[in-house]
């Protein structure tokens, strides 16, 4: 599995994400937001958390227009994989690669704590290591994680089994407690919680490593 991890000005989870991929056996390349192309043979792009471009205008709005995201769009259109975490999820919605939008948390406060997620589907290469209905303890740290989508879009997500994770408590006001969603081809996942922060026993939990191992299993021979 070859992973490319993007760094934008203001990214702060890029290194952790690279380490999580490496621990799952990936060959990791780091790419810069001004790069025009992804490394040859990239299987999956990691769009990390942080505060790209200072969250100016809207979270993820400026990053979505960066040169590297044009390359990511082409990669996804060709059937490539992408994982957007936190600010990365916001960037993927701003680029239109995932539906919906992340609004200010309903409680208006930055929420930083470990939450219990429910795995809503095991039918994706990201979530195959769990059974649907399993729970996972994974940290969140965000101010704008209130997932919002129109009624029609929400129905489509449910009909197509594209909600990947939900919160088991009200964390940020997200519709139906949605914490992560999949693209129509199930190869792009955006999620607000940080699995890379729960991928090493020394850092307080390993539930997140299931996601990276699932990917590694699916993409090992790709």
């Amino acid at each position: 599995m070859k992973a490319a991890i993007i760094t934008f000005p203001g990214s702060n989870c890029d290194r952790d994400l690279a380490v999580a991929f490496e621990q799952a056996g990936a060959e990791v390349a780091r790419v810069w937001h001004k790069d025009q192309d992804l490394p040859e043979g990239t299987d999956i792009v990691g769009v990390p958390g942080g505060f790209s471009y200072g969250d100016y205008l809207r979270c993820g709005a400026i990053a979505a227009q960066s040169p590297i995201m044009q390359a990511v769009r082409k990669h996804v259109e060709k059937g490539g994989y992408a994982l957007g975490i936190c600010n990365g999820f916001q960037i993927l919605t701003e680029t239109g690669l995932l539906p919906g939008a992340l609004m200010r948390n309903a409680g208006l406060k930055f929420v930083c704590k470990t939450v219990t997620l429910k795995v809503a589907t095991s039918d994706s290469d990201f979530t195959r290591g769990w059974n649907a209905g399993d729970e996972a303890s994974i940290p969140v740290a965000h101010h704008d994680g209130n997932y919002t989508i129109d009624a029609e879009g929400l129905q489509r997500l449910k009909d197509e089994d594209r909600v990947a994770f939900t919160y088991t408590e009200d964390v940020n006001g997200a519709m139906e407690g949605i914490a992560g969603v999949l693209s129509a081809n199930r190869r792009v996942l955006g999620m607000m919680p940080h699995p890379e922060r729960a991928a090493d026993a020394a850092l307080g939990g390993t539930d997140g490593s299931v996601l990276f191992r699932s990917l590694s299993g699916a993409l090992a021979l790709a």
Partner: protein
């Protein structure tokens, strides 16, 4: 030529910040504020001289960057 863009959350999209402002106004003794919606004003200084062309251009900017049309609506004034 100047353009002013107003970006607001679409009707029906809950505005938690506007709601917090409404509560704060009530706390300060301002009664009778039934609702508050908070948005953005973006002012652009344009080289264009044709008003219609400028408006078309600014609308394209709104669609591509200035507004997230999943949750926001916008209006453009050219002066």
């Amino acid at each position: 030529m100047k353009a002013r863009v107003h970006v607001m959350l679409k009707d029906g999209v809950l505005d938690p910040q506007g709601e917090a402002v409404r509560h704060a106004l009530g706390t300060l003794g301002f009664q009778g504020v039934n609702g508050v919606r908070q948005g953005k004003v973006i002012e652009l200084d344009l080289a264009a001289t044709d008003k219609a062309a400028a408006e078309t251009e600014v609308k394209a900017m709104c669609e591509k960057l200035l507004a997230n049309t999943v949750i926001e609506k916008y209006s453009v004034e050219i002066a």
